[in-house]
């Protein structure tokens, strides 16, 4: 099934941005020491924000539950540090808006010791049935670490009539600069494999596939080294191509199946998780550590000392950057996430979130764009779009503000905003932004109509 001599398995279209991973791919993961202040936004993902269970003035332990799920699509929140609650109110979020958050002043003598979550008393995971497993995951606060931060337990709660046959672990890490998944696979291959086994058994999947882009040979070899014959796990080298890590592309590359529009992976018997999510599951069920810290890649031309860091959730970005030597003078833009899909940071005082895979800084050189030229209909964007949309047309319609037509004739809602089209455009047209604006408008309109 897997041919190691080929380019690796792949999908059609897509682009080949320079991957820039050399900056950090060999840097071992370091731990960021505690800082004085932490901000834990209550809603860090789509779904319902968590509900605080602490009051201002309460003293909390690292790992202690501070907000509980407030519905099904909602997860728990735990304190990343031992300290005191100083505020529950509006705080600046990365996107510049203000969101309800819990502010914690760290105890200067705080240690890495964490209090084992109360829900994790049952250490024998084999004894859990699926429902108990799902509620345990919800209590653990684990969300998807691949970027979207979608609550993981929701993914596991499959309807009666469906069955998961395959567990797909996403180690593609196709975004340039980011190496956090890579380092994780290199440094903790056993945890990855252990997490795979836990999840596979719980979901009753037959096989596991770990997809890794071929520019991470060390990850592949490390995983293979720890792989034993009894584990039904395949490690699949993938072509280095963006966006190889996007769920649908990954499914196409590995199983050669096209996930129908509007369907979820589970509808075709597949569950997809990022390696980071898998390791978080392993850590939770093996050590009882809820999701209170994550690995963040610090890179980009504007960072003085690129690094891979373990960062407690809620650490202000400014503090993380300071730990890594700060920013270069010419820095103009700071991005949370990867350079292709990440969102720019409006305020450096905003905290690291559960879904933050990287903080990248770019300087004048990268942000000074050439002038925007008119679309010359060169079709490079069509050839880039992995979803076979017509970005050129979408951008034109977006400019003319014909949002309805964008959906009716050109299915703008199917766009995942991967940015491949914009990367490919020689005229420097902000196609994705046009698309996002249109989607925003359309959502707004349909919300108003209902």
């Amino acid at each position: 099934m897997f041919n190691f001599f080929s380019l690796g398995q792949s999908f059609s279209h897509g682009v080949h941005p320079p991957h820039h991973k050399e900056q950090t791919e060999d840097l071992p993961i370091q731990r960021v020491p505690f800082v004085s202040r932490y901000v834990m936004p209550l809603g860090q993902h789509i779904g319902i924000p968590a509900q605080p269970v602490v009051k201002v003035g309460d003293v909390v332990q690292r790992g202690q539950l501070i907000a509980k799920p407030n519905g099904f699509i909602s997860t728990a929140l735990h304190s990343p540090v031992t300290g005191k609650i100083t505020d529950i109110g509006m705080h600046r979020y990365v996107d510049g808006s203000f969101k309800a958050a819990i502010e914690i002043a760290a105890d200067p003598y705080a240690t890495q010791q964490f209090s084992v979550s109360s829900t994790q008393s049952n250490s024998n995971i084999q004894d859990l049935n699926l429902d108990e497993f799902i509620s345990a995951v919800q209590q653990s606060g684990i969300v998807g670490m691949g970027g979207a931060a979608f609550p993981s337990h929701v993914k596991y709660s499959i309807p009666e009539e469906q069955k998961i046959n395959d567990l797909l672990v996403n180690g593609a890490e196709c975004e340039p600069y980011l190496t956090n998944d890579h380092r994780l696979m290199v440094e903790r291959p056993e945890a990855v494999l252990r997490g795979c086994e836990i999840l596979r058994q719980q979901l009753g999947a037959k096989r596991v596939a770990i997809g890794v882009e071929k520019n991470k040979p060390e990850s592949i070899s490390k995983l293979q080294q720890y792989l034993t014959a009894d584990m039904p796990i395949d490690i699949v080298p993938l072509e280095v191509k963006y966006p190889q890590g996007a769920e649908k592309m990954l499914i196409k590359s590995i199983y050669n199946k096209e996930l129908p529009a509007g369907k979820l992976p589970r509808d075709i018997g597949i569950a997809v998780n990022n390696v980071g999510t898998i390791v978080a599951l392993a850590d939770y069920f093996d050590q009882g550590m809820p999701l209170i810290e994550r690995i963040v890649t610090l890179a980009g031309p504007g960072v003085e000392e690129p690094a891979n860091l373990i960062v407690p959730i809620g650490t202000p970005i400014r503090d993380v950057l300071e730990f890594a030597g700060g920013l270069k003078e010419q820095t103009r833009e700071v991005i949370m996430g990867g350079p292709m899909m990440g969102s720019p940071v409006a305020d450096l005082d905003a905290p690291i979130l559960k879904g933050t895979s990287g903080i990248l800084a770019f300087t004048d050189a990268e942000t000074a764009r050439p002038r925007e030229y008119p679309c010359i209909r060169c079709a490079r964007c069509l050839e880039a779009c992995p979803y076979f949309l017509n970005p050129s047309r979408l951008a034109l319609l977006g400019k003319a503000r014909l949002f309805e037509e964008m959906q009716e004739k050109y299915n703008v809602m199917d766009c995942v905003e991967c940015g491949a089209c914009t990367f490919a455009c020689p005229s420097n047209i902000p196609i994705v932004q046009h698309i996002r604006t249109a989607k925003d408008n359309l959502r707004n309109l349909s919300a108003k109509n209902n």
Partner: protein, 192 residues
């Protein structure tokens, strides 16, 4: 047979009613904003042209040999009334057909492509079959011009055409360019 083919090709491409004879410009300039409408209008026009060819032939052979001076007035009255009658029948019998095609009929009857066809066919002494082929070619040519025009206009709708240029002036210029492109068909199938 060759003759019929030539009549068809010639009216379709070389001597396109709209682009070379300037017939039917009102709908061509006014209604070519949307592709679907244009296509339907083209179909409906073809239909009326065929009716016209029939009427013209009947009038020419049975009425006008006695009174040639009534040519114009009888063409216009007979064609307009026939089409109006057909329109009302369609409206009664098939509302859906009326919506997609019948609704265009009043517009078509007062346009000069129809009268032009009748007059040209008479001037050239076309018989029944030739007249019908002529009508078919003219209708197809009208539809072709209409559809191309609509495609271009829909496209330019979302482009940055300067506001001052937009409108009929621009449509005329597009038509001129189309007409220029159709010059390439000149002499088609006639060269020795």
């Amino acid at each position: 047979m060759d003759d019929l083919l030539w009549i068809f090709i010639s009216t379709l491409l070389v001597n396109n009613f709209v682009l070379a004879y300037f017939l039917g410009l009102c709908p061509f300039l006014g209604v070519s904003g949307q592709l679907l409408t244009s296509f339907r209008l083209g179909l409906a026009t073809t239909f009326v042209l065929i009716i016209t060819a029939l009427c013209a032939w009947v009038l020419n052979t049975y009425v006008l040999i006695h009174a040639p001076y009534l040519r114009l007035i009888s063409f216009i009255v007979v064609i307009a009334s026939t089409v109006q009658f057909i329109e009302m029948s369609i409206k009664k019998l098939s509302p859906s057909l009326f919506k997609s095609l019948g609704i265009f009929l009043p517009l078509i009857t007062t346009n000069c492509a129809i009268l032009g066809l009748a007059i040209f066919a008479t001037n050239r002494g076309y018989g029944l079959v030739e007249g019908l082929v002529f009508a078919l070619g003219a209708g197809a040519g009208f539809t072709l011009a209409m559809v191309l025009m609509a495609g271009i206009r829909e496209e330019t709708e979302i482009m940055d055409v300067p506001v001052l240029i937009r409108g009929t002036a621009f449509n005329l210029i597009i038509a001129g360019i189309l007409s220029m492109a159709f010059m390439g068909f000149a002499g088609l199938f006639s060269s020795t």
